[in-house]
Amino acid sequence: MTAVLEARAVRVSRGRAAVLHGVTLSLAAGEALALVGPNAAGKSTLLRTLAGLLRPTRGVVLLEKRPLQAWARGDMARAVALVTSEDEGPGTLAVEDRVALGRYPHRGPLRPLLEGDRAAVRRALQQTGIEPLARRRLGTLSAGERQLATLARGLAQEPRVLLLDEPAAHLDIGHQLRLFRVLDDVRTCGMAVLAVVHDLQRAAAWADRIVLLAGGRIVAEGAPDAVLASEQCARAFDVAVHGHPVPGLAHPLYSFEEPGE
């Protein structure tokens, strides 16, 4: 598979301390990749670097074989969408207007909303299941509904690469399942999806591949169950991981314990 987005020996420093130490990673079209790791592993930093918001101090990020710096801002925003769980939009903004701002890379400051834009907004609202909320104001939504509105903005952008930072952070189990089903839908249409996921069970169930980041380095990478069962995973989170195969389920159920007993 050819890589759409690729990090090569990426190092990112904040002040004098390095947050990422030479991370190499590739993401293919139609791939679902989960980025996991303990707190302060550098997951968000890596995601922001891949989205072009942070510049690597060393190494390079390639989007479709071209370094990010060589991309024009607008072309880049049409190719890569970033969805974070920090939603700071004004509370009086209507959901459909929020989602329509995802068309900005296609419209620029002056072009009106054309039929194609409206269709993209409608599709994004449908896919995320928040069509009934379209006219509501953000301030009246639950945290989970706001999160889905942010995802819908990313989908309305119609990118080729979708980057998500803990997209399920505020969601109840029903909304979580819907969210990951949506991510599955879009990647089967060829979008590359990379998500930072906290819930390891969910990551194993959803992703084609898991990348485990710890201390600013990739310490394990591969098939979900192999990564979760690995010694590196236990060490990174400082836990003991037990997989319990269950007949009829594609992945084992995982339980975690504090180490040393």
């Binding site: 922001r48 989205a51 072009g52 918001l53 801002r73 607008g74 880049m76 925003a77 049409r78 890569v80 969408a81 970033l82 974070t84 920090e86 700071e88 939009g89 004004p90 009086t92 903004l93 209507a94 207007d97 701002l101 995802g102 900005y104 890379p105 419209r107 620029g108 400051p109 002056l110 006219r135 104001r137 952008q157």
Partner: protein, 342 residues
């Protein structure tokens, strides 16, 4: 009622209320002008078929050389300041941001006073508004840099930075005031209080050019403003050049605030009240909120100036004090409401 119907209704009400407020402000004053003849005179001047008797000669003189420029200026200043408040609130992502609270008014006043003190204003055409513009721009850039030094500023951090920069600019203004010859002090005091006494058509033209151009350009930046209100990261990931856009908006906001201050002195709280009161009704999108705020701010200052002229028989009250008398309690009330929510 849907949000859209409500927005339309509010915009129509504002669009209808502004001419009514302006007509009332033209007709009322120490010498009341009869309403019918005022309309007849205006219609005749606009080339429309006039009906009824026009004003007598002194009435015409008062209408054209006193009332009309003053009322038009009030509308321009109010509309301009309200749009500045609206745009700054989007950039700072804070509905409590206002040019006055962010030191822009104080910076513009300092620039203007400096121009008067140094005698530039008397010799160089446009020196006064230019100095006010530079002062406004300097204040806003300083507040922006200081407040953003540690990441996203909190409401308190932003307001305290604005207060500190305002105090600094006011201190500079005071020094200039003490060092100013007595015959110029009255001119300088004007900047501190704000007012529209004795404004002429030259001031109207100056304000109209800068304020309308600035507001129109800010209006063209409506969508970038909406994108900015989502936060710097999301704006950047949507392909917006965040810093360049912010600086452009600051320059335009300072242009409008500087022009308004150069003709009216400091008129505080208009930029906070108008958008704050209208946002719940027209929504936060700049393409709706900018025109609504312009109309709302214009109405507010036209009425405030009418009050400044007519509340006391003996003297013109300072316009800036009047908007502060209304605006400061409004601000405190809104602040309490917003703290209660978060």
């Amino acid at each position: 009622m849907t949000d859209r119907a409500r927005r339309r209704l509010v915009l129509w009400i504002l669009a209808a209320a502004l001419p009514v407020a302006m007509a009332a402000a033209v007709a009322l004053g120490s010498v009341p002008l009869p309403f019918g003849p005022v309309v007849a005179s205006l219609a005749a001047a606009a080339g429309l078929p006039s009906w009824g008797a026009p004003l007598d000669a002194p009435g015409v003189a008062i209408l054209w050389s006193v009332r009309l420029p003053r009322v038009l200026l009030a509308a321009l200043v109010g509309g301009g300041l309200a749009v500045v408040g609206t745009t700054l609130q989007s950039v700072f992502r804070n509905p409590m941001a206002d040019s006055g609270l962010l030191g822009v008014g104080a910076g513009a006043a300092l620039g203007a006073v400096l121009a008067v003190r140094m005698g530039w204003a008397a010799h160089v055409f446009l020196a006064l508004p230019l100095a006010a513009f530079v002062g406004a721009m300097a204040a806003i850039v300083i507040v922006y840099l200081l407040a953003h030094a540690g990441g996203r500023p909190s409401l308190q951090g932003l307001l305290l930075t604005g207060i500190a920069v305002s105090a600094l600019a006011s201190a500079g203004t005071s020094v200039l005031l003490v060092a100013t010859e007595e015959f110029r002090v009255k001119t300088v005091l004007f900047w501190l209080a704000g007012g529209l006494e004795g404004r002429s058509w030259a001031h109207v033209k100056l304000a109209a050019v800068f304020i309308l151009a600035g507001v129109a350009l800010l209006g063209l930046l409506s969508r970038p403003l909406d994108v900015l209100s989502l936060g710097a990261d999301e704006a950047a990931s949507l392909g917006l050049p965040v810093h360049a856009t912010r600086l452009t908006i600051f320059a335009l906001a300072a242009l409008v605030a500087g022009a308004a201050t150069s003709v009216a002195g400091s008129v505080p709280f208009v930029g906070l009240m108008a958008p704050h009161a209208l946002r719940p009704h027209v929504g936060p999108l700049a393409r709706h909120l900018i025109p609504a705020s312009f109309l709302g701010g214009a109405i507010l200052v036209v009425l405030a100036d009418l009050g400044a002229r007519t509340l006391s028989d003996r003297l013109d009250l300072p316009l800036g004090s009047l908007t502060a008398f209304v605006g400061a309690p409004y601000f405190l009330f809104a602040l309490r409401a917003s703290e209660g929510r978060s």
